[in-house]
Symmetry: C2
Subunit: 158 residues, 2 copies
């Protein structure tokens, strides 16, 4: 038996779909117009910039950015062509490679970051009260944990 969404739930759900789609597009477009990179590119650069020696294993980076291995591989191809990232062989595991942020990549990130942060503030954070934003973050943290955990049988909760 399906328990349907009542009218209010449906309204909230549509607001969710609507807002998340629009926000993602807007932030990505702003980055692209100002700096020629997408939001996905930006997130890769951020991860690398935070990593020790500004390098990460491909698979780790794929997990962190929620990309498939194949997708990340292509994406790194492009970033490599743009000289924002380069690949290097992994010392300890000869199957592996590291993605390394180039100096040019670092500079690009430093330039793009204000655009990104301003967008996040303008189109999200500053539209809400601090409590609202905190509640949003906490609620979505629950969702993220749920979706990220290996699928437990639902019964386990009973």
């Amino acid at each position: 038996m399906t328990r349907w969404l009542d009218e209010t739930e449906q309204r909230h759900w549509r607001a969710y779909i609507y807002a998340t789609t629009l926000l993602h597009e807007k932030l990505s477009r702003e980055l692209q117009e100002a700096h020629g990179i997408t939001l996905a590119d930006y997130e890769i650069l951020v991860r690398l910039s935070e990593a020790p020696d500004r390098r990460l294993r491909m698979s780790h980076l794929a997990d962190a950015t929620l990309a498939s291995r194949s997708r990340l591989s292509h994406q790194i191809d492009r970033l490599e062509k743009a000289d924002l990232v380069r690949r290097e062989a992994c010392e300890t595991d000869r199957r592996g490679s590291n993605a390394v942020l180039t100096d040019h990549g670092w500079d690009a990130l430093v330039e793009a970051a204000p655009t990104h942060v301003a967008g996040v503030r303008e189109h999200l954070v500053d539209l809400l009260t601090p409590e609202q934003f905190a509640d949003l973050g906490n609620a979505l943290a629950v969702v993220a944990r749920h979706l990220n955990s290996p699928d437990l049988p639902a019964e386990q909760l009973a």
Copy 2:
């Protein structure tokens, strides 16, 4: 001067990106595996099913689903191949076409709806208290309104 995100804001922002990406993927994959349609397809079918005579102008449908005209056109191509939707000429405006839900499309929607609703509940609604979910919806409604409105100069708010 850029006002950076503090550590807490950053945590919330990452939860946002993480959860919205995962949730979208999960719901789309569930639909695809069970019924061979994506979330975007599903939303088109829903809009058509709710419209008078189960038909809508292409441009209206594009706006409603936040798709570019070009993207919608391709998407309708696919749905037409799958016999879920068909096109028909618009009577009152010879430039236009209507997308019409076929009987088969209606049946597919009726079949897919329980999967979708169950997913939304399992991975979002039922993870939160009713208040949390309502707050989420209301906060995102603010965001959606903001992003949807024609760009006012920021000064207008002062």
